[in-house]
Symmetry: C2
Subunit: 102 residues, 2 copies
Amino acid sequence: MDYSKMCPKYEAAIELLGKKWTGLIIRVLLGGPKRFKEIKEQIPEMSDKMLTDRMKELEISEIVKRTVYPEMPVRIEYELTDKGRHLQPVIESIQDWGEHWM
Amino acid sequence: MDYSKMCPKYEAAIELLGKKWTGLIIRVLLGGPKRFKEIKEQIPEMSDKMLTDRMKELEISEIVKRTVYPEMPVRIEYELTDKGRHLQPVIESIQDWGEHWM
């Protein structure tokens, strides 16, 4: 890897993943499809508005897919796309480092 | 890995690494010890004040070590500690993902 100059794709990835709560939301979704309430349960300090905003951003970035099930009452689930699932090595390397050094 | 509940060490790692510019600074320092000016060259959009603040935080977190060489003029270099160097898998996994998906 060439550390002698910055890489725009790395910068773009950091910009996306470094946003507050995003790293936590992706970790939750690696556990499988989740409803809004289930994500909140693992990240209780995050406000509803913040989670709503982040999920919209993650949908636009095609990291998260939102599915509406037309049941009564309606059920909405969020899951990682292929692009999102490929973040697993990133999340796991942060977990490993955190366990050892934090 | 257990995705069914949040891990405080993961949260702490994300809190530290997710700060604006930190992911870029660590990438630069994986290339070896650098002077302030050399870090700035790779991240020109970052202000001097911002870099100064981040380097202080990274010193306090023991991710970066600052060495003053008593030359004329004095030379100051920043390098990763052992804790900081162990972030290499994190940085590389972000780079890999970014290259493929951004």
